[in-house]
């Protein structure tokens, strides 16, 4: 039997819309210091392996993975970087522990978005060079097309998507980490200038800078740790065909399949009954609704009504994005999933302060790698 794996320490650097005062290495050092203190570990002695997430073009440095060890206390140690969301790095770390390769593993993800002068060009460079890039359009046209198809197939409405934005930005006001908390109404969202119709300016999460570091440990190592363990009950990840021509457009199939894998591992038959809350990808307003349906939290086409009825509010029957989500916290590139896990850990430790979901025992965090990808990851955490 593989050992159970717990998250025993979490750390962050302050999330900001821009961070001109600190380098990415200093942000990582800050988050790592907090995480090691939280877990009560010395990275030079107690950690056996390190897993990071990054993309060279976002960082502005080729072979960027070579630049991560020193600020994590990982020089001359087993280190790897995977290109994916931070939740995929957590899956990798959990597998290192479950296979007996390492007993204590550190995961890191960050965003230094504000260092990029040409982020939209970089994003467009991720599209197919022969079929899509010659059109010369901003890559978020993919999100506009997907929202158009999703609303058509699901019957959900732009108004309901606008309610997601108002909910999440409002919830973010209770989160001291969030960069974009605001008191706005669905009407404000609908009245904002169009960007990629049916998307408007307020339907998209704005970028933020920040870093998250987490310490994972095997059950046999947890007793030596200072931190309160939160157990990993299940995980899964999935990528659809990348091509715009053949991918699924209405349904988030990547999220459905990643969740099925995680539910199976965690022994969850009814997600709504067996979970207390969820942190779901909301890089665009419609994504929260699409992902609720993909994760079987509600039936296809029902997510809009749920938002309208307040079911997914912090004080509703099933809170979605108590942190404020990406809309309220900011989009953090590959660190986005780690932010969702960070919130899930706080909720399960009972440390979420004024946004605490009462009695939370089990929660789910889900990520999507943003336009133009079709990659999603899911992790389910629980307390003893």
């Amino acid at each position: 039997m593989p050992e159970r794996v717990a998250i025993v320490g979490v750390g962050f650097s302050d999330l900001r819309s821009c961070t001109p005062g600190v380098s990415y290495k200093e942000m990582m050092f800050e988050a790592a210091t907090r995480a090691y203190h939280d877990a009560g570990v010395d990275p030079r002695k107690d950690v056996h392996s390190f897993v990071c997430v990054s993309e060279d073009f976002w960082e502005g440095t080729s072979i960027f993975d070579e630049y991560v060890p020193d600020q994590l206390g990982a020089a001359l140690r087993p280190v790897q970087t995977i290109t994916g969301d931070g939740i995929q790095a957590l899956c990798c770390a959990a597998m290192l522990i479950r296979t007996g390769t390492a007993r204590v593993v550190v995961v890191e993800g960050h965003s230094k978005y504000s260092d990029m002068r040409t982020p939209h060009h970089i994003q467009q460079f991720a599209m197919d060079p022969i079929l899509n890039r010659p059109l010369g359009a901003h890559a978020n046209l993919v999100a506009g097309l997907e929202m158009s198809r999703y609303l058509y197939e699901s019957g959900n409405t732009r108004e309901q998507c606008a309610m997601v934005v108002a909910k999440n930005r409002h919830q973010a006001l209770l989160n001291p980490l969030a960069a974009y908390g605001a008191r706005i109404t669905p009407d404000d969202v609908l009245a904002a200038p169009p960007t990629f119709f049916p998307l408007g300016e307020l339907d998209a999460a704005r970028p933020a800078d920040g870093c998250f570091v987490m310490v994972l440990a095997a059950e046999s190592a947890v007793r030596d740790m200072a931190g309160q363990p939160v157990w990993i009950a299940g995980y899964g990840w999935c990528t659809d065909a990348p091509s715009l021509e053949s991918r699924e457009w209405g349904e988030a199939a990547y999220a459905r399949l990643a969740a099925e894998q995680a539910y199976r591992m965690a022994g969850i038959a009814s997600p709504l009954r067996d979970l207390d809350f969820a942190e779901l990808d909301d890089a665009f307003s419609y994504k929260e609704l699409q992902h609720m349906e993909a994760l079987r939290l509600c039936r296809p086409g029902e997510a809009g009504e749920w938002v309208e009825d307040g079911v997914t509010r912090l004080d509703g029957e099933f809170p979605v994005n108590p942190s404020g989500g990406s809309l309220g916290v900011g989009h953090l590139l590959e660190a986005t999933g780690l932010h969702r896990v960070y919130e899930t850990v706080l909720q399960l430790r009972g440390e979420a302060g004024p946004r605490q979901v009462p009695g939370a025992r089990r929660g789910l965090a889900q990520s999507w790698r943003h336009v133009p990808t079709t990659t999603g990851a899911v992790i389910i955490l629980e307390r003893e």
């Binding site: 502005g60 060009h121 022969i130 158009s148 960007t195 715009l244 053949s246």
Partner: protein, 155 residues
């Protein structure tokens, strides 16, 4: 460190840029697609002999069942509008003077869809499900690129 910087211009940064240039190999399956588009104004597709999915543009392999494919279908450049968007922002984040509509078009006889420009006039508001056709460049101006299709327009 009692002194603090209050003027952000005084924070040191170093500019950097990288020239990025590539050529992208079109490949065995797509080469005939662009030739047929350029020479005959027709669209090739490859049906999967195992699972039946018809790929447009053609591919060498089926992503569903991993069979090897051949481009054996030649289709008219007409189809159904599956989704549309109107783009108001350029690649530098500035607002466009003229918004541009784009559509996801499923060509009749194919199971996959093309993303391309959509000519929209006030009289023809795009609508999911509507019939659209490709407007091609004149034969002499075609170069064997996806831009040999100028745009799709409502029929």
């Amino acid at each position: 460190m009692r002194e603090k910087i209050t003027n952000p211009d005084a924070i040191r940064t170093w500019p950097g840029k990288v020239p990025v240039e590539y050529v992208y190999t079109v490949g065995v399956a797509s080469e005939p697609f662009f030739r047929a588009l350029m020479e005959r104004g027709r669209l090739l597709a490859s049906p999967c002999p195992e699972c039946g999915v018809r790929y447009l543009p053609p591919r060498l392999f089926c992503e569903r069942c991993f069979s090897r494919l051949e481009a054996s279908l030649e289709l008219e450049p007409r189809g159904t509008l599956e989704a549309f968007t109107v783009v108001h922002v350029d690649l530098d984040g500035n607002r466009l003077d003229e918004p541009q509509a784009y559509g996801l078009v499923r060509i009749h006889g194919a199971d996959t869809a093309l993303v391309h420009r959509l000519a929209a006039s006030d009289a023809d508001e795009p609508e999911v499900g509507m019939e659209v056709e490709a407007v091609l460049l004149p034969p002499a101006e075609r170069t064997g690129s996806i831009l040999d299709i100028r745009h799709f327009r409502p029929v």
